[in-house]
């Protein structure tokens, strides 16, 4: 396996291959369409949330099974509650204005959306480039911060087998999805 990780060219190809599968699935899910994303944010169509929660439940349960064997290492993101709230709200405002997110906009381009390319992709590159330029200042004025939740995962705090926590949590998420279906959303 170590040879597999060290082979840089192979990993670039694997990234491309995984991307093809990811893009294929996003398009089949309908979330590369502007209308599907906007109608999720207008709370009319819950396709985006259904896909996300089904993916979260699946990955979370698979992690729960394999993590105790020590074969995988988690990579929880750094930052703070503050960066998550400010950054998250800004992201959301842009999300509703553009109608795609960074992953689905690539899928939108692949299925023919011109506004995704000359609007969305260009905008995201500009906005993230602006952040990189301002990074030092944002750190100085303490907008970019780290707190005790940085790079922490609840998986690493568990006293018992992860499934003892994640099965009941999955059940709650499934109940929520069941509720959405039952009220016709």
């Amino acid at each position: 396996m170590n040879k597999l990780y060290a082979n840089k060219k192979l990993q670039l190809f694997m990234g491309f291959l995984f991307g093809i599968i990811f893009g294929f699935l996003l398009q089949k899910g309908g979330v590369t369409r502007y209308e599907v994303i906007i109608n999720q944010l207008r709370l009319i169509d819950f396709t985006v949330l259904k896909i996300m929660l089904a993916a979260v439940i699946t990955t979370m349960l698979l992690i729960s099974i394999v993590l105790p064997t020590g074969k995988i290492k988690l990579q929880p993101k750094g930052g703070s509650i503050k960066t998550s709230i400010i950054g998250g709200l800004l992201f959301g405002i842009g999300f509703g204005t553009l109608g795609y997110c960074p992953g689905t906009v690539a899928g939108a381009v692949g299925s023919g959306n011109i506004d995704g390319l000359i609007g969305g992709v260009v905008g995201i590159i500009l906005g993230s480039g602006l952040f990189a330029s301002l990074y030092k200042k944002l750190k100085d004025v303490k907008i970019v911060t780290k707190d005790k939740f940085s790079e922490r995962s609840f998986f690493n705090e568990m006293k018992y087998h992860p499934l003892i926590y994640t099965i009941p949590f999955s059940f709650v998420l499934v109940l929520f999805l069941y509720y959405l279906e039952s009220i016709g959303l």
Partner: protein, 170 residues
Amino acid sequence: MDYLREVTWSPYVVGVLIGVLNFLTLIISKKFLGASTSYVKTSGMIKKIYNKKDVEENEYYKIKTPKVDWGWMLVIGIVVGSFISSNLSGSFEFIVIPKLWTDLVSASLFTRILVAIFGGMVMGFGARLAGGCTSGHGISGASQLSIISWVAAICFFIGGILSAGIIFGF
């Protein structure tokens, strides 16, 4: 084969398969799915063309090295995968302005592109401040039970509901 030609699959089937894919990338590449970092790397690659020194000295580009890597190829792959999927089902279509936008907001191309660039900018900036996007935080981070990711994902939706509400009415 017929299933591959269908226009849409059940969101639950798609979600479970993305969940499995996310786990496979972890096993095979030691990576979780995420898209937004590739855009900041691209911004660095472009800036490098006209101001190499500035990029080399920038603290952020030292963390997110502007080069073609696994995640960058992933985003290129998304474009290709969506192209294949939409061609198989016959749903590939050149769309300049989304129909919903034309019907409810404006038929002007200039307005749509300007608004899309503005939305993309705010989103790109927010993604960097939050440290991820709908896939990086919303799927990968949330499935790793990170508090930061759950808070970010919830804020993505709060912000999105707000701006979509302002544009289309609540």
